[in-house]
């Protein structure tokens, strides 16, 4: 008799390697990696490629660790939402204690390794980011206030600052502008998602703005934040982070983003339901392109500066 016949049910719950990877939220990690990389490369100090690679790797591991801790704490909410119920913990493939252990171990590992590979300022900011995401956002704000996304978004905004600190060992205005860009981008991005994933947050009892203040108020807030974001994003084009390439990208994308937010604000629920939230879904997809394009443009400006090129005298 084999061990498999003794424990027939265990095989169904036995985690695969991919389940542990899923705990680290690889899609969120891709945003962390990209924005941290831009912060690192936009810094005025050159970094050895190996050190830069290690820095991004450990920042990504830190981001993944906070994802695992988030999944450990939020397993009850995740089980009730259509979008998240297949995650490893609510699906029963990974035990909650395992997610907690992995998250804690990787948090400590990533902070110490980033400190050893680069400097302790970057490591301290990574530790603060993990703390902010897990304790301030996940454990406290997410279940208590409709401003959860606004304040919690700060955690997702820090990676370029960590990347900059890893390169320079100090902080400056430029990385804070990048942080502000992601910070202001997060509310319209998530509220658009909350509009078309309509029953999910209601079912889970998460006080999203759509649940506490209603959907018309959410549509208005998307427009307000998009206007503020557009001012910030275009204004950044006139700082040392920006330049002509960035400015061109910012003007085009912010015009598109404002148009989308305006369309969302003008719609009511009946029209949105009639076309299955087409405008809201399009705005959400555009928001992803928006952020990657802005950071891509910052990266391009840094490349232009490094090559000693100047375009249009800016």
């Amino acid at each position: 008799m084999t061990d498999t016949s003794l424990q027939p049910d265990r095989s169904a719950a036995e985690a695969q390697f991919g389940d542990y990877v899923a705990l680290l939220k690889p899609r969120v990690m891709s945003l962390v990696v990209f924005t941290a990389l831009v912060g690192l490369l936009a810094a005025p100090v050159g970094v050895h490629p190996m050190v830069g690679f290690a820095a991004i790797l450990f920042i990504a591991v830190g981001g993944g660790a906070s994802g695992a801790l988030n999944m450990w704490w939020d397993a009850d909410i995740d089980a009730r939402m259509r979008r998240t119920r297949r995650r490893p913990v609510p699906a029963g493939r990974v035990a909650p204690e395992e997610a907690l252990a992995l998250g804690l171990a990787l948090s400590g590992f990533s902070v110490v390794m980033l400190g050893l590979a680069t400097n302790w300022l970057a490591a301290a900011w990574l530790a603060f980011t993990i703390f902010f995401y897990v304790v301030i956002y996940t454990m406290w704000l997410k279940r208590t206030t409709p401003q959860n996304i606004v304040i919690g978004g700060l955690a997702g905004a820090f990676p370029p600052l960590i990347g900059w600190a890893a390169a320079t060992g100090s902080l400056a205005l430029e990385p804070w502008l990048m942080v502000a860009l992601i910070f202001m981008w997060t509310p319209p991005h998530f509220w658009a998602l909350a509009l078309f994933m309509r029953s999910d947050y209601d079912d889970a009892g998460v006080p999203m703005l759509t649940v506490t203040h209603g959907r018309p108020a959410t549509r208005a807030q998307i427009l307000v934040y998009t206007v503020l974001l557009a001012v910030l994003a275009v204004g950044t084009g006139f700082t040392t982070v920006g330049g002509p390439v960035y400015l061109a990208v910012a003007v085009v994308l912010n015009a598109m983003f404002l148009k989308g937010a305006w369309a969302i604000w003008r719609r009511d629920e009946a029209r949105a339901e009639a076309d299955d939230y087409r405008v809201e879904k399009r705005f959400f997809r555009l928001s992803l392109i928006y952020l990657f394009a802005h950071f891509g443009a910052i990266l391009a400006e840094a490349g232009i500066d490094r090559m000693g090129l100047s375009v249009g005298g800016l």
Partner: protein, 52 residues
């Protein structure tokens, strides 16, 4: 009939073990690379020379 029949569970365990092995190998490579860079760039200070 073999005593240890291959089962889905064994396949998953093998996948996990291989994944961990590859991660460890990659980690060793990263540490080795970092060590070479830090020593060749002269930014590494051996403990017995600190404060001298």
């Amino acid at each position: 009939m073999p005593i240890a029949k291959t089962h889905e569970m064994h396949r998953r365990r093998l996948g996990r073990n291989l994944g961990v092995a590859l991660l460890l190998a990659a980690f060793i490579a990263v540490i080795f690379g970092l060590t070479v860079v830090k020593i060749s760039e002269g930014t590494f200070t051996p403990p017995h020379q600190e404060g001298t």
